[in-house]
C-alpha cells in the first residue's frame, strides 16, 4: 500500500470521527501512540513493535489529513536524496 492509499484508507476508516475529535485531540492521541511505540521499541517484543509502528503510522496519517497535508507529497521531500545536500546516501557531515 502506498502512502496516498494509506492516507485515504485512514480517512475512510476514521475520517469522520477524527474530524469531530479536532486537531488538538488527534495530536494528543498521536503522542499517546508515540509513548506506546517507545515502550514497544525499548521494552517490547517483535509483535509489539509491528503493532505500534502501524498505530503510529495510522495516527500520523489521520493527523496529516486533518492538518490538510498530503503525506505522499510530504514524502517527496526525501525522494531525490537528502533535502539538505541532495546526495543519496546523505553526504552531510555528522
Amino acid at each position: 500500500m502506498d502512502l496516498a492509499a494509506f492516507q485515504a484508507q485512514m480517512r475512510h476508516l476514521y475520517g469522520e470521527r477524527d474530524a469531530e475529535r479536532g486537531l488538538a485531540r488527534t495530536f494528543a492521541w498521536f503522542t499517546e501512540e508515540c509513548g506506546e511505540l517507545s515502550r514497544a521499541v525499548f521494552r517490547g517484543d517483535d509483535d509489539d513493535r509491528l503493532t505500534e509502528f502501524g498505530d503510529v503510522l495510522a495516527w500520523l496519517a489521520s493527523l496529516a489529513d486533518q492538518a490538510g497535508v498530503d503525506l505522499a507529497e510530504a514524502a517527496r521531500r526525501y525522494a531525490e536524496g537528502c533535502p539538505r545536500c541532495a546526495a543519496a546516501p546523505c553526504a552531510c557531515r555528522r
Binding site: G22, R25, F27, W29, G35, S38
Partner: protein, 386 residues
C-alpha cells in the same frame, strides 16, 4: 493500564472525579471549562478494565529559564476518586505522563504538588516557589508617577507585552497561555503606566480586584497581576497601592523572591502570607538544555549522566558558550545526577554543590563549581497558579 486522551463521552465521569477530588461545586462554569480543556486535548485518563480510574490535565506549556522559553509538560488537576485511591493509580498516571512529555519533545515537567511524596518518588523535586505578600496599604510610600486606567483598545496587547518582557527576566515563570489571559481579561480594573520614550509601550501595569473584608468597612486591594519593567514603573505601582491607604487595609500581591516591592518600602512591612512550592522533573534533557538560556560570557564543558530509568539519561557532555547550552552524547561522566536532581538544577533552585550536599548528585568539586556557574540565576518563581 494506559493513559489516554479523554473523549467527549468521558466528560461526566471526569466532572464527578473533579467534584469529589477537589471539593468543587459541579456548576456550569466547571462543566464548560472542563469541556473546553477536553476538546483541547489537555485531559488524560488512566483506563483500567474499561473504567476511568483517574484523570489529570497535561498541558503543553513553556517556562522562562535564563531569558529563554523551555517547552514543558505542565501537570495539573490530578484526580483519583476515593474509590480508586491507595493502589497506585496516581503514580501510574504520572509515570505515563513522563512518556507523553518525552513523545511531545518537552524538556521539563512542572507541577504544583498537593503532596510532595507522590511526585518526589517519581523524579519530580521542589524547583521553585510562588509567594504571595501582604503589606498595609497605609505604609506604602507614594513617590512615583500616577497610573492611568488602561481602557484603550491598544492597552490590552501592550499589557501582554509588558508582562512578557517582565516574565522573561524571571526564572521559572510560565509563558502565559490563552486560558490564563482570558481569566485576567475579565477583571474590571486595569491601570497602566505609559513609557514616554516608546509610544504604545508600558513601563508597568496592574490588574486590580477589591475584596470586601467581612464585618469591616475596609477592603483588601489585590494586585491580581502586575509587572514593572523599570524602576519608575515599580515606583508608580507602589504609588498606586499607597494611594488606597484610607480605605484599603492591605495590599496583596505575588512577587518574586526576594520581593522587589521590599526595595520600594520604607520599612520591613511586606509579609509573605502564602507560599507554594512547585516541582520540576527532567524529560528530554537535550531539549531542555538547548532551549534554556545560560549566563552570557560563560564558557565551559562538563560530562554528566542521570540515573533515571524513565528516560534517556546520557552520558552526555554539557557545553555552554555564548549564552547557549548543548547536551551531546559523550563517553564517561564526571557528574552523576539522581533523577530528582535535574529539576532543581535546571531551574536554578539549588546549585549543584547544594544538591551534592543533599546527596542528590555527586562529582568532583571542580565539575560541581562549573555546574554552579552554568545554572546560576535568580531564584525561580512562578507568578501564576495552574
Amino acid at each position: 493500564m494506559r493513559l489516554r486522551p479523554l473523549e467527549a463521552g468521558d466528560l461526566d465521569v471526569a466532572l464527578v472525579q473533579i467534584a469529589t477530588s477537589f471539593g468543587r461545586a459541579r456548576d456550569d462554569a466547571l462543566a464548560e471549562r472542563t469541556r473546553s480543556r477536553l476538546a483541547d486535548g489537555q485531559l488524560w485518563g488512566l483506563e483500567e478494565d474499561g473504567t476511568l480510574a483517574g484523570h489529570c490535565r497535561l498541558l503543553p506549556g513553556a517556562h522562562w529559564l535564563g531569558g529563554r522559553a523551555v517547552p514543558t509538560l505542565d501537570v495539573a488537576s490530578l484526580a483519583v476518586p476515593p474509590e480508586h485511591r491507595g493502589r497506585g493509580v496516581a503514580s501510574a498516571m504520572m509515570r505515563e505522563a513522563v512518556t507523553v512529555g518525552l513523545a511531545r519533545g518537552d524538556g521539563l515537567s512542572v507541577l504544583y504538588p498537593s503532596t510532595t511524596r507522590l511526585y518526589r518518588r517519581l523524579g519530580w523535586e521542589h524547583a521553585g516557589s510562588l509567594t504571595r505578600y501582604r503589606v498595609p496599604a497605609r505604609v506604602v510610600p507614594t513617590p512615583g508617577p500616577t497610573l492611568r486606567r488602561g481602557e484603550e483598545p491598544t492597552d490590552w496587547p501592550a499589557i501582554r507585552d509588558c508582562h512578557t518582557a517582565f516574565a522573561a527576566t524571571l526564572s521559572g515563570a510560565a509563558v502565559r497561555g490563552e486560558e490564563r489571559w482570558e481569566e485576567l481579561a475579565a477583571l474590571a480594573h486595569r491601570y497602566v503606566l505609559d513609557d514616554p520614550g516608546a509610544p504604545g509601550r508600558l513601563e508597568a501595569y496592574a490588574l486590580v480586584e477589591h475584596e470586601p473584608i467581612p464585618g469591616s468597612w475596609q477592603h483588601t486591594l489585590r494586585l491580581t497581576d502586575w509587572a514593572a519593567t523599570t524602576p519608575r514603573g515599580l515606583a508608580a505601582l507602589a504609588t498606586f497601592a499607597g494611594s488606597h491607604g484610607t480605605f484599603a487595609r492591605d495590599v496583596v500581591l505575588v512577587d518574586v523572591a526576594p520581593p522587589r516591592w521590599a526595595a520600594v518600602l520604607g520599612e520591613q512591612d511586606l509579609d509573605a502570607t502564602g507560599g507554594l512550592a512547585w516541582m520540576a522533573r527532567g524529560l528530554d534533557l537535550p531539549v531542555a538544555i538547548a532551549h534554556r538560556g545560560f549566563p552570557a560570557g560563560l564558557g565551559l564543558a562538563v560530562t554528566l549522566r542521570v540515573d533515571d530509568d524513565a528516560l534517556p539519561s546520557g552520558p552526555w557532555r554539557l557545553e555552554v558558550a555564548d549564552g547557549r547550552g548543548a547536551l551531546t552524547a559523550a563517553p564517561g561522566a564526571d557528574v552523576r545526577l539522581t533523577a530528582r536532581a535535574v529539576g532543581p538544577l535546571l531551574t536554578g533552585f539549588r546549585s549543584a554543590s547544594e544538591l551534592a550536599s543533599l546527596g542528590l548528585l555527586r562529582g568532583p568539586g571542580e565539575a560541581l563549581a562549573l555546574l554552579d556557574a552554568a545554572f546560576a540565576g535568580p531564584p525561580p518563581v512562578m507568578l501564576d497558579f495552574f
